[in-house]
Symmetry: C2
Subunit: 194 residues, 2 copies
Amino acid sequence: MNFDRIYMALLHYPVYNKTGEVVASSITNHDLHDLARLNATFGLAGYFIVCPLELQRKLAGRLIQHWLTGPGAEQNWTRKEAFQRASVVAELAEVKNAVREQTGQGPKLVATTARGAGGQIGYRALRDKMDQEAGQSWLILFGTGWGLTREFLDQEADYLLKPILGSGDYNHLSVRSASAIILDRLFAIDRTAD
Amino acid sequence: MNFDRIYMALLHYPVYNKTGEVVASSITNHDLHDLARLNATFGLAGYFIVCPLELQRKLAGRLIQHWLTGPGAEQNWTRKEAFQRASVVAELAEVKNAVREQTGQGPKLVATTARGAGGQIGYRALRDKMDQEAGQSWLILFGTGWGLTREFLDQEADYLLKPILGSGDYNHLSVRSASAIILDRLFAIDRTAD
């Protein structure tokens, strides 16, 4: 697996809200931190926070700068290190461009969802693909709110990962929990050991 | 796996702070929600928030009641359902007693840590044990702050799980991410499918 070519992004648009409307969601402080730490733990090439709301992006940028170069950098090096590969941008096109600039190639997009559907790819199958196509750039997409819209998934995703299933009907993990599980299933080096 | 006999607890004492002192940590709103959702997703029997600080327990209790019986119950049923098996208590002894009352048997304690050490058990090995000893009660312990103290782990844990390893040296996941990964590795029903 070529981790230098694998990126992740947290999308705040287009996602559903609780009542099924398509909205831009607000940026959550704990999402910034937890996903940046996941990106650092699994050694991925970069983490993009994507939000069309300018004020939200400014706030997220200030939070990240606090930990990178502000008082936080002295206070907690684990946050500084986690945020070193984090960027805040307005839309997905910017992420694709950034990956293309950094790797010389546009990424294949892997989307995630809590809803089962036909044609979804399993974790082992995707790992095998990523191993086989080590020269390829990849971008894993996570949605906030009640998940990325069907239209977006249909139009943008090269692959759609199978949802995480528990033992019952409850199927409402936070994006922090879901992204942790998904990245672990795809990228943990000790997965097969035991 | 007998999920009716498997419990989880989030411990706010005794844990290290950043400088290595042993402290009682504050309760974090996102921990309450994310771990309650994990508990519901994987169908475990109960989730205990353990904190010796009385004011913190009162605050957590009020937050949970808001989603169980307050205005939140109408507003978001996924939070209501997640919190139905959550309890806030002062110390680990209360958790053990509650499990003993509910299952007729004190639990075996499985602790988690980010630090590698000798004698730790792997995920597959623990799953096998839990499958074989299906009549046994189990309690999975997660620590806040910079992790459960060595003394506590030595004295209390029947088993200590191996830490989660990424591809590099960075080893600072949030307890929200770590608990998601650990529960998935132990309890996901589709783990072996792909």
